[in-house]
């Protein structure tokens, strides 16, 4: 027996069996305990509850929602809310981060200092504290009667109001998609090599697609316009409250601002790192070839820096999407808050946690997949640039 244990292969098999056994024991034991505990609380396990109506409401939804809707629909709403907040937050963070990163890599010390203060300040304070701060700031704004006018925005303790379009929801979505395509397609046309004509000769096509897309988006908006109303619907005071316009709730405003500012500080550092990773030799070569500073930036440094920062950026994006779960701290109904309330209300603990895990896994994997695709598409071929 002892000599058997000295055999490496047998030892390896035993070790792995032991490992698998412990894992299985923990999982099965935990599962059985939970089943037992929950059934003693009269919770029927299984996913049948998804078809029951919830009996509670959400405070924010892009999709129609009412307490009579079933749980599965609420989970969909939660995912859509998380993605909506996440994508807007990422866009804002990327914009701020790009700017801060450029500040920090600038040749001007004062600009560098500004960037550095920004990053050091916002990165070293917990995100949830910043969410609370912005939330308190918005809810401590004056009441609608004394609301602050800020250009087209109206700031009050009921949220931020902005002029809205008197257009049906589906038409707005359609116009937004058309607009995105009108901007993205020309970019693709400028660079792709899949078409027969060389990219330089597609000027007319590019401008045509851009113009046509913009016109189409405008047409969709006009078509969806509510009959007999002005196209633009500005917010206005009526009694003690605001009427018309688009209200962005204090919860959403606080989360969006906090995620954008905090994420911007991190992304700024990633951008800086990306530019730092571009070898000095590349810049010197570009200058010695007679490229102007702008040309050497846009044709040499930026493309190389983008390649260096993409993998880290993907991780940061996943992190920021996960940060939307802070919605629960101020009461924004993101995916996690829906799950938490579900557990509270229905007791379907294990099922709801499983849905949460699957949902975040799906979101993370999608982001990773998108970035892998981009990465592969723009990766430098061969290894001539390793040094």
């Amino acid at each position: 027996m002892v000599s058997l244990l000295r055999q490496q292969k047998i030892r390896n098999i035993l070790l792995q069996a032991l490992f698998a056994g412990i894992v299985l024991l923990v999982v099965i034991g935990g599962w059985r305990n939970a089943q037992h505990a929950l059934s003693s609380q009269n919770v029927v396990s299984g996913f049948g509850f998804l078809h029951k109506s919830t009996g509670w409401d959400v405070n924010f939804s892009l999709l129609p929602a009412s307490p009579n809707d079933p749980y599965w629909w609420f989970f969909v709403i939660g995912i859509v809310n998380t993605l909506f907040l996440g994508i807007l937050g990422l866009t804002l963070a990327t914009f701020i981060g790009g700017l801060v990163g450029l500040f920090r890599t600038s040749s001007n010390d004062l600009l560098q200092l500004l960037g550095r203060i920004y990053v050091d300040f916002f990165r070293n304070i917990p995100l949830i504290l910043q969410v609370f701060f912005w939330y308190s700031l918005v809810t401590n704004l004056p009441a609608p009667r004394n609301a602050m006018e800020f250009g087209p925005l109206t700031l009050s303790n009921r949220g931020v109001y902005m002029p809205a379009l008197n257009v049906g929801g589906w038409h707005v979505a359609g116009a937004a998609v058309t607009l995105l395509l009108a901007l993205a397609l020309p970019l693709w046309l400028r660079t792709t090599r899949r078409l027969a004509s060389p990219p330089e000769q597609r000027g007319a096509l590019v401008w045509g697609v851009l113009g046509g897309g913009l016109l189409l988006a405008a047409a969709i908006l006009l078509l969806g316009r509510a009959p007999g109303a002005a196209l633009i619907d500005p917010p206005r005071l009526q009694g003690l409250n605001m009427r018309g316009g688009l209200r962005v709730s204090p919860e959403f405003t606080a989360l969006l601002v906090a995620i954008g500012i905090y994420g911007g500080a991190y992304i700024g550092e990633i951008v800086r790192g990306g530019f730092k990773a571009v070898g000095k030799g590349q810049t010197e070569a570009a200058h010695s070839l007679g490229l102007s500073p702008w040309q050497s930036f846009s044709r040499i440094r930026l493309p190389l820096a983008l390649r260096a920062m993409l993998p880290i950026l993907a991780n940061q994006y996943i992190w920021l999407i996960k940060a939307t779960t802070l919605g629960i701290a101020v009461g924004f109904t993101d995916f996690f808050m829906i799950v938490a309330v579900t557990i509270n209300q229905s007791g379907q603990t294990l099922e709801a946690i499983a849905i949460l895990m699957v949902g975040f896994l799906a979101i993370n994997l999608s982001i990773a997949a998108i970035f892998n695709r981009i990465n592969r598409a723009i990766a430098l071929k061969g290894n001539q640039l390793r040094s």
Partner: protein, 361 residues
Amino acid sequence: MNTLANSAAVAPPGRVRMLRKRYFPTPLQGVVSVVSAGLLLLISWKLLDWAFLSAVFGAEGSAAECRAAGGACWSVIANRWRIIFFGLYPHAEQWRSALACVAVVAMIVLSCVPSFWRPWRLAAVWIIGTAVYYILMKGGILGLRYVGEEQWGGLALTLFIFVATCLIGFPLSIVLALLRRSELPVISRGTGLLIDAVRSLPLLAILFAFAVVVPFMLPGWMQTGKLYRVVFGAGLFFAAYQAEIIRGGLQGVPRGQEEAAMALGIGYWHRVGKILLPQAMRNALPATINQFVIGFKETSLVIVVGFFEILASGNAAYGTGEWTFAYREVYAFIALIYFVFTYSLSRYGAYLERRMAISSR
């Protein structure tokens, strides 16, 4: 001597030219410099004015006085600092809470001193520091009055959560990293799956699961207080991230190091403990310190599962009575506390990174 006098003589025009070259090389750059300088001055002035010049200090300042002054109302801190630092800890015993915080800070500072970077010394510092904290806070022995965990709060609780997270997470991260690089496929894949699953979830979801779901899954004899479960969840999350950092450090150790140790007949545990981990930890040091910084900031999330840590006690400090308008001051104060911890840690990390860049050729 001569050259020195020379350079001094030409210094003024040289300096002016240098300044001009630095900030006004082109008209556009000049505008950028002026705008940035203006912005910097404006921010500094506004901050100075708000925080000091127009501010009301001292415990006597009343809410009405504050509103009139227009600046920061530090009176709220002067009146409510005890709740921010110690939460609901019994008033007469708060000196214990303060001493416990000092013990933890001393422990963290000691572990930043390179001469303590031996496994046994670090372990000793952390175990002693945590024990001192625990005895002081909980009491029940040495003539100290018993104070249950549900009464812990404020900065003291935040520090406890951080320390306990590290104490659980750091050793666990080493174990996970070693398991993940095991040659046995079941072990390495299984560990990899666990690490990736934990990393793909938001920390809040994990804290929530450990607070609410795990009690259902544990057998009766393993039921513990909610605080310990949540801290374990935070430790697991920390470990999953830190394990990947250590794995990266291990990958940076050349394969030949382990082979040389094997050829000398050195066994697995000594290979890992004396050859691989010391080098891997050195490679991973900057990222590790960054992870500690993140870990410290993330302690604030436990507010969501109902703990009275520094942020929650801050909310309570301004949330009641006459101080409801003073949220800015309270948040600024708490932000300052976080900033002091995280900024000094990350500066320390940057210093280590520079030092290592010089010493490794």
